[in-house]
Symmetry: C2
Subunit: 435 residues, 2 copies
């Protein structure tokens, strides 16, 4: 018998790799943060002796979901304003509210509210895009969640910096003072084509290249954004980015709603990662991203929630259901974006976008044990003909019963092991009262 940390026995494992596989009556062995084995429960009981043995007999175990586009501190603004035109919403509601509370403490508390929501919902890793990244990192480390933090760059004055040069100084300082944690990684996070000019983008690219970091940016979200570049530069953002050398396998382009067929081909050729945020695109009326065309062209498409101010939840299971449904309606074809393809977008494709595909995104031996269990013994998911179908079309995120990140048990039978939710909510409400 081999001594290990954790042995999880479950009804179904959906490892994501190999594709479309459901392993029944299987067990997962975890030791020193990593997945070390995946085998029939019968064999597992003979081979391993675990410090923690977990029985989840009516559950699905799968990789934790990866949210590739978030603005976690904006959870403090959830439901502040809805059903408005984009500029009315931003200028008259969101920006003034942000201005009232922006500081390291509000960032920490808002991020923690989002982190609690994401962990409760089966998300084990997020890719953030906001100010004070090291304070979000601090919250993530305190909650033992995995995160990729964005170093924000924009030419507009904000509560964070007066211009792009100060943004780049702050980016350098945040990056130099980054926490030493295997859970945390960084990207450059220029805001968008319309708030980041060519000079800033080139400096951002140099910073990224010098430090071997990726770039995470909003791109082709609205027609208005494209019109601005056509007016200012005489070209669409994608063409401008191509000429600046930004289109490559280290770019995560978020939204990508408005794309020509040539631009889709260019994404594929340059290996750009596309983060699809369907609910935000609907709520802000940005439109329907051409996800099926992107996938068919070979582009790596992953999923994100966007911020809670424009969604208004950080529910990756809801997001993947919406992605699958609207792809069918938009393409007038019920066979597109089938259940397993959608699950891949929310797991392994997200890992690829973050450059973490050797570490997370599937249940494979040697990867970190970033995994979740979902209780299917529930009125919403019975009977069970095909667990993969229920993961996309039927289950509710409250059925996520357990979450592990790097082998650490964070959610147990639906309850947080360490995180004090009442305190997290109380702190969030103290900020809300100031708005």
């Amino acid at each position: 018998m081999q001594n290990i940390d954790t042995l999880i026995h479950t009804r179904w494992i959906v490892p994501i790799i190999p594709r479309n596989q459901v392993l029944e009556n299987y067990s997962l062995a975890i030791d020193h943060e990593k997945i070390i084995d995946l085998l029939p429960t019968e064999d597992a009981n003979k081979k391993y002796s675990a410090k923690n043995t977990i029985d989840r007999k009516q559950h699905v175990v799968m990789p934790g979901l990866i949210n590739t586009h978030a603005h976690t501190p904006m959870n403090l603004l959830r439901g502040l304003a809805d059903d408005l035109q984009l500029m009315d919403w931003l200028q008259n509601h969101i920006w003034p509210a942000e201005g009232k509370i922006l500081c390291p403490e509000s960032i920490y508390d808002g991020s923690m509210l989002a982190i609690a929501e994401m962990l409760r919902s089966g998300t084990t890793c997020f890719n953030d895009h906001y100010f004070y990244p090291n304070d979000t990192a601090r919250a993530s480390i305190d909650a033992s969640m995995r995160a990729s933090l964005g170093l924000w760059v924009g030419n507009a004055p904000t509560g964070w910096a007066k211009d792009a040069d100060e943004c780049l100084e702050k980016a350098a300082s945040e990056y130099a003072n980054r926490p030493d944690s295997k859970l945390i990684s960084y990207m450059l996070a220029p805001h968008s084509p319309y708030i980041t000019n060519d000079g800033s983008l080139l400096k951002t690219k140099k910073f990224a290249d010098d430090n071997n970091l990726r770039i995470h940016i909003h791109l082709h979200e609205t027609q208005a954004e494209i019109d601005i570049d056509l007016k200012n530069y005489g070209k669409r953002p994608m063409q401008r980015f191509n000429e600046l050398g930004l289109l490559n396998e280290r770019l995560i382009a978020v939204h990508m709603v408005h794309l020509t067929d040539d631009e889709i081909a260019l994404c594929a050729e340059k290996k750009v990662h596309v983060s699809h945020n369907p609910e935000s695109n609907l709520k802000l009326a940005s439109g329907f991203a051409p996800i099926v065309k992107l996938l068919n062209a070979g582009v790596n498409v992953c999923l994100g929630t966007d911020g809670a101010a424009s969604n208004n939840d950080l529910d990756m299971f809801g997001e993947l259901q919406t992605a699958a449904l609207i792809a069918k309606g938009y393409n007038q074809d019920p066979t597109v974006l089938d259940a397993i393809t959608t699950l891949e977008m929310a797991t392994i494709n997200g890992a690829k976008a973050l450059g973490l595909e050797k570490e997370i995104g599937s249940i494979e031996i040697g990867k970190y044990a970033d995994i979740i269990a979902i209780d299917f013994d529930h009125i919403f998911t019975q009977p069970v003909y095909n667990p993969i179908s229920h993961l996309v079309y039927a289950m509710n995120r409250m059925q996520v019963s357990d979450v592990w990140v790097a082998g650490k048990h964070l959610l147990n039978h639906g309850e947080f092991v360490n995180l004090d939710v009442k305190e997290v909510i109380a702190k969030a409400n103290a900020w809300a009262e100031k708005i």
Copy 2:
């Protein structure tokens, strides 16, 4: 002090009528199945002495949701087949499975599985469209849920009847033997333009008129359906129905995805009720119903889930979020289908469609106490700036903590008061094993 059955103290009441109102720190008084008062909690404690006093201090209390299009027994087929073309799905998967198990007992057990799911999710009334309606009625009465049952009519042979005439005989027999319950009402339920010919429709209309019943039918769901009528009758279904005298305030037309502007005006003129089923329309790739145009024309638009085989959940809160989001995306306008309009569709508009607007659909004195409480003290719905926003854009159906139908407490702090969920699931699985 006046002695009453139940007094509910809560943080927020959203009565739906008057429109867009949020009453804070209010109480609801219930006696003999009905709402008898709605007043500040301070006053309620002085005025009423209740057998049951319910404190729900961080909750929203609102009318129960009304699901205007369901096929409840099809919950037994949830997730059996997905991501297929409509005819492949029906002919090779759904119809053969139905054929294997169709009988009064499977109808009762499948309906009970759906009823449990709907009650757990805050739905207090449903409008069903399936075979063996009195067995679904029996399940609904046993669960104390309100329901409108469809008397099925179609020209195709089914496990229920060999032709439309036998359907009409069975409709007469079911209706004659209907249970005596204030919770239960009936409609005629011809299937669709393509499975119900003119003769059957006229006989169905006569039955409905003779018994003062409404008609509940699938209409203009797909372009293929319209093409069939153009080929067989030389006219679109709406025109054919108009000529048959079927378009009036007693018709609930389900789906209505493909409509010309003239047909939208005709719906308004004839006061046809439209049941919008957005998730089913997306999953089956039927398309995007022109809901904003219908509402602007003055049509009463309500909401439905369709059956679990094509959705795959009976989550009216999910459905109303999807309705609001896709309307914005489809119309390229974030201001359309705002939160309160969407909530009206799921409540009072549903009551109007069923002809029950004097009895249910809002929290008004004299109406039945068909109400629900939702726990907002939850990581998904904090902070709270506007409760109506969270009801549409943020809350999860598992936050529904309490359900009353006609003043009877059916769900208490998230637990069923009488219904044995384990037994319901076990019976459903016994049928699933036969498929």
